[in-house]
Symmetry: C2
Subunit: 461 residues, 2 copies
Amino acid sequence: MFDFEEKRDELLSQIKEMIQRKQYADLRDRLLDLNPADIALLFEEMPETVIPLLFRLLPKELAAEVFVELETDSQENLISGFSSKELEEVLDELYLDDIVDLIEEMPAIVVKRILMHSDPDRRKEINELLQYPEDSAGSIMTTEFIDLKKDMTVEDAFKRIRRTGEDKEIINVCYVTDKSRELIGLVTIRTLLLAEADDIIEDIMDRNVISVGTLEDKEVVAQDFGKYDFMVLPVVDAENRLVGIVTFDDAIDVLEEEATEDIEKMAAITPSDKPYLRTSVVETFKARIPWLLLLMISATFTGMIITGFENALSACLVLNAFIPMLMDTGGNSGSQASATIIRGLSLQEIKFEDIAKIIWKEVRVAVLCGVVLSIANFIKIMLFDRLVLGNTDISLTVAAVICFTLLFTVICAKVVGCSLPLLAKKIGFDPVVMASPFITTIVDALSLLIYFGFASWLLGL
Amino acid sequence: MFDFEEKRDELLSQIKEMIQRKQYADLRDRLLDLNPADIALLFEEMPETVIPLLFRLLPKELAAEVFVELETDSQENLISGFSSKELEEVLDELYLDDIVDLIEEMPAIVVKRILMHSDPDRRKEINELLQYPEDSAGSIMTTEFIDLKKDMTVEDAFKRIRRTGEDKEIINVCYVTDKSRELIGLVTIRTLLLAEADDIIEDIMDRNVISVGTLEDKEVVAQDFGKYDFMVLPVVDAENRLVGIVTFDDAIDVLEEEATEDIEKMAAITPSDKPYLRTSVVETFKARIPWLLLLMISATFTGMIITGFENALSACLVLNAFIPMLMDTGGNSGSQASATIIRGLSLQEIKFEDIAKIIWKEVRVAVLCGVVLSIANFIKIMLFDRLVLGNTDISLTVAAVICFTLLFTVICAKVVGCSLPLLAKKIGFDPVVMASPFITTIVDALSLLIYFGFASWLLGL
């Protein structure tokens, strides 16, 4: 069993030594044993000036595989050092969808060079793929699939696979199209292998093909992989003509990206697709400061509410001490509901139409939580704050005010927490942006209003 | 293009009608057009008593595929209605890893029935798989892979695949083992198809196989799929003997589950693997209440701090109004740092060894954020609170206290937010449990102490 992580530091120092001693043949052999993704990780740890040298040691195909795995900065750096011939060689080895990904990340001048060095057919395909909107199925698909015709025999099919398969990303599923390129079925390699050589494709193909449209959201497509356990999904245009395939590895990347994005947005960070340690301080600052500012300004409301009740508070100072607890509990209750709903929306387990069911459920959960929290809090106040700490300002009425506030705050928090993401989704906003920090601000204000409401009423302040 | 979601309601009413009219043949044909995962979704919407009837309409193989996709409750319900023969038929069609998943979810009595109706060889394999710890690679692997020997020809290999491939989950990658079953290489179907019939496996196999140990954390294994774009990963025991494979669909499930778990834990919810709408009110309550209670009790500290400074507060009541803003900003700053680090740890982009680098980075980001927030807050206080709202209690010194507190709170929050998850990971705790709510509680207390510290010092309270 080979564990790359354990050997990373050892490998790094070996490589650095070999470079110093100019043992390039040994170095090449050492790299050949590794997986492209791991080689890319090693390259990233090297000084920028050494990467082109290391890269040129690798055989063409492996070099291209490593290239795809590198970070955007290193790719750009490498390309700008490539001769025209080198660039052509690397581009030749790349899969079409990887070139498109690359072009989307590179500055205009590099894009121009890439397109110039692609052959005209490829350039046409690249341009077609580039026209699909970001985040659409079209933008992550590749046009390199194997298509068969329904009147082929299994033997014909194998011939076609052998002839064209070398350049194709996935040869395990072949699609069957008719004369107008419409998608009519699929056969897996497994079916082909288990069939007789003279079986006709039409007789053994599966007509029940699930496909996605070119404009479908890539996140929805990725979820389909999770749902159906597909290895590859065909992408069709509005006329049901097969235009490309999305492969499971792209789906995994999309799922990981989307989960990271959701987590970042829930924590009030503008998402970035760079790993943390590669993001500069200024970039991290820029991703975080707008939300902090916005949320700080919105906390002005809570400040205004407290100022508005200043007289009540000065008359009963003990109320002050419970504000953080009430606000935090409200905020936590709200985040619980919103996080659950947001994730459910991402996984397509929940739809807007369920809103009544969801609110009704959250209200019942909230009543249960609120009652338990109120009772626990009542006991804590009477036993700990009053008896142990000897805080005699806490009368039974004050305890009642706190406990009633707790109950109603939890209910409000859960209802706000579950309904805001659903409403955001309905009006076409990103539900995650409605997540914890925003909900916290709203719930904070509500909890204070409830608190002072009960205080005015029960304590006559 | 077939979009199941759009047609779901129509399908449901069609099916219900067909059941009422007893048009079972039509119903069967209607179901045959659908994907197993979609059929399962439809079944779940049906009354429980109808599911066995619908299930028996399906051909054996499809029935098994649908069975795997059903929720645990429905599976249990179906099994208890099965005759012994029916149970055996379904079990025969299931892949080994799916049976193991099933057994892990079922109550003991059902497990006994399942094991009783599996043939002895299978029972032995099931028991072996069941012994791997939950969350290990062993627990999600299947033992149904194709193994070749190095001295076979390509033709032999195809014969073996044809003979044994039908029951195997993935036939696109075949592993090569030696006499002691040690893993020595792999060949893909692509390689086999592009090779000559008399090529020897040893000459065309890839010796550079990445494998994982049976006890490896399944999350780490799933991350490897994302990193290396594998379709399947071999699992080996301590002696490097091939014992199973993990397939990409299981990896996708693990990645989705883990992301959901992380999000739930960050929002202070005990993770569950049931979809939200299928979880009962009491279950949801139970997943949420312990954390709410714990966090409520821990907010006692903030209450105690405020009580401790009651005299200072009553002397300068205006300070009160800014407590929520300071606590919220601290909480948000902390969550930003912790969410980033937790996700980085999950994606294996960050290690404990990076802690110094991370803290240094967070301090610099915090200073930038803190300075900007302080300036913005100063302007807001002087222009809005003082001039517009006419709150003359706010002196320049009070504004200074608030702004200094803001700066230092943000710094503390970022340092706590980034270091706690790393420390938790180091001592073997779950870093996510250290996430926002806990960090919020700590940061709340710190921000109050800083606030009252500056207030005492600058205002002489």
